[in-house]
């Protein structure tokens, strides 16, 4: 067993963790450790071989591996960053001791002055949505199938049904088609797809794959191996409408039914937000417990990796300042609350004193709507008001609040989304 000390320890080597490690170094951390359980750095992006990453950050459309490759090279070139791959963090204690394990070193105890959580998220499984039927082989989460097809060289089936029409489900429908499988349909519980229109067009319409909105899989057939599914329409309350059932043959069901921030390690140390399922953070991505920071999908599920990297930059910088004793303790804390029309907002707190000049808020709308007004206010004081031509729960709303506009005696800032004339819910 070995024991080691670092200024900043980053748990998770995906885009959030890589950006955090680099910015911690820029902000003066002498030694930074990145711990990754996979055999290589890069996180989920290594399996996202499609393009569309990096438009904000690099102004070009990169594939997932190309995007993460740019960060991996920088991290590996920095002698002040230690990388442990194939290393699983088992436990983190509130005195910032980290217990990890790998085949070379065995059990390792590390202490850090600051810790950045960057463990990403995991997918909801069949158990989480309780579809009736037996337990045949052939049911995968879309992300697991993506890894098998794109990295490991296995195909999960030849006749496929996809449940869930978020971007991952849509992209996998196209991917399986290109690999020679027949995608029977994509089935979506909600009356709209949460994926980008671009993906609905280029992943489904291009290949003539049917999308059944307001439908769900009501039964899984097959005993040892899946043989098909029953699909049924649902009403407004998401209850199955009797008599609408139809059957689809398949040898594989891909579930793309939501992502949950992976907080097994942080739970118990820091406060979690019931709606995002991630730690509550302030504008520095500092959690409720001093010296613990968080970034990326562990905080809230992002749709654009560019914002994940940006969050990593922030968390890494302030973790480094904390480790050097340069982050002042908060003299005043303002709560940021999601009001009418808004489901989640990050950060959930703003701390004084501030050194960032502006606070960037990331919000998700409750429901899709056209022509809405986003209002960020402290009581009667309107800090930011903006008309949005469209709001969709699948796309984060990003707005900067200039710090000097926030009244210094305020306790709470609220964010609301209201329909303006001629607007409202989308058809």
């Amino acid at each position: 067993m070995s024991s080691l000390k670092f200024d900043v320890a980053v748990i998770g080597g995906g885009p959030a963790g890589l950006a955090a490690a680099l910015s911690a170094r820029t902000a003066g951390a002498k030694d930074v450790l990145v711990i990754e359980r996979d055999r290589e750095l890069g996180g989920i992006l290594q399996q996202c071989i499609h393009n569309g990453f990096g438009l904000h950050r690099f102004h070009e459309e990169l594939t997932g591996p190309t995007y993460s490759g740019r960060f991996i090279r920088q991290v590996k070139a920095d002698a002040g960053i230690t990388v442990w791959e194939d290393t699983l963090v088992l436990e983190v204690r509130n005195d910032k001791t980290i217990w990890a394990i790998n085949p070379q070193q065995g059990l390792i105890g590390i202490t850090a002055k600051a810790v950045v959580f960057a463990m990403g998220c995991r997918e909801r499984t069949r158990g989480a949505i309780r579809i009736p039927g037996l337990r045949p082989a052939g049911i995968f989460t879309a992300g697991a199938a993506q890894r098998m097809v794109n990295m490991e060289g296995y195909i999960t089936g030849k006749k496929i049904v996809v449940l869930g029409s978020g971007d991952i489900g849509l992209i996998m429908a196209r991917r399986m088609t290109l690999e020679g499988a027949k995608v029977q349909a994509v089935v979506e519980l909600l009356p709209y797809s949460n994926g980008l229109t671009r993906n609905v067009v280029q992943c489904l319409e291009d290949f003539g794959i049917p999308l059944h909105l307001s439908h769900t899989v009501s039964f899984i057939h097959g005993k040892d191996k899946i043989t098909g599914v029953t699909v049924a329409a649902v009403d407004q309350d998401r209850n199955i409408i009797p008599g609408t059932e139809f059957e689809l043959d398949c040898d594989c069901l891909l579930l793309s039914v939501g992502l949950i921030p992976e907080n097994e390690l942080s739970r118990g140390i820091v406060d979690l937000d019931g709606l995002t399922s991630g730690p509550t953070v302030n504008q520095y991505r500092q959690t409720s417990y001093d010296g613990f920071f968080a970034a990326g999908n562990v905080v809230h599920v992002h749709d654009l990796v560019d914002f994940v990297s940006e969050e990593g930059d922030i968390a890494g910088k302030f973790a480094a300042l904390y480790a050097q004793g340069k982050l002042p303790t908060a003299t005043n804390v303002v709560a940021v609350k999601a009001g009418q029309g808004i489901r989640t907002v990050v950060p959930q707190r703003i701390s004084w004193p501030d050194s960032s000049g502006k606070v960037r808020l990331f919000m998700r709308a409750q429901e899709p709507a056209v022509r809405v007004k986003l209002k960020i206010a402290a009581g009667e004081d309107v800090l930011v008001e903006r008309q949005l031509p469209i709001a969709r729960p699948g796309e984060m709303i990003v707005v900067d609040v200039p710090f000097d506009k926030i009244p210094d005696c305020t306790q709470e800032i609220s964010v609301t989304l209201q329909a303006v004339q001629g607007g409202g819910l989308r058809e």
């Binding site: 490759g69 490991e152 229109t197 280029q202």
Partner: protein
């Protein structure tokens, strides 16, 4: 000249911005004669390309031998004609390259004679390196 006028109209969704306008393009004699529903210039340009010469970037994998992974992700250097996408994917299913490969390497040149190279989108080291 073709005096039998070929008229067809196509509904499509614009993907240029999140507004996702749905519009219609009418074509007669391979010419766009009418276009409605696309509310801005960028959208009209998109719709025009989409009905005359739709193109897509192809991302897929190629087998790689002696690499730390069995598959190499690749991307087409420029967008390919949409109707050739499946054919290109099938063609790449029969190819094997050898590790090591560097991101940016043109691993398969001039796919189906379309003048477009397939580019490795990551590094893959050789085993035992």
């Amino acid at each position: 000249m073709n005096n039998q006028e070929q008229k067809a109209s196509k509904r499509l969704t614009c993907i240029v911005c999140p507004m996702s306008c749905v519009g219609e393009v009418e074509i007669a004699d391979n010419q766009i004669v009418r276009m409605v529903g696309f509310t801005c210039k960028r959208g009209q340009e998109y719709a025009k390309n989409e009905v005359t010469a739709p193109k897509r970037v192809l991302t897929t994998t190629i087998r790689i031998s002696k690499g730390v992974l069995p598959l190499l992700p690749v991307v087409s250097q420029t967008p390919l004609p949409k109707e050739k996408i499946i054919e290109c994917a099938r063609c790449l299913a029969n190819i094997t390259v050898k590790a090591p490969v560097r991101e940016g390497d043109a691993v398969y040149k001039d796919i189906l004679g379309l003048g477009v190279d397939m580019i490795a989108s990551r590094d893959i080291e050789a085993v035992g390196k």
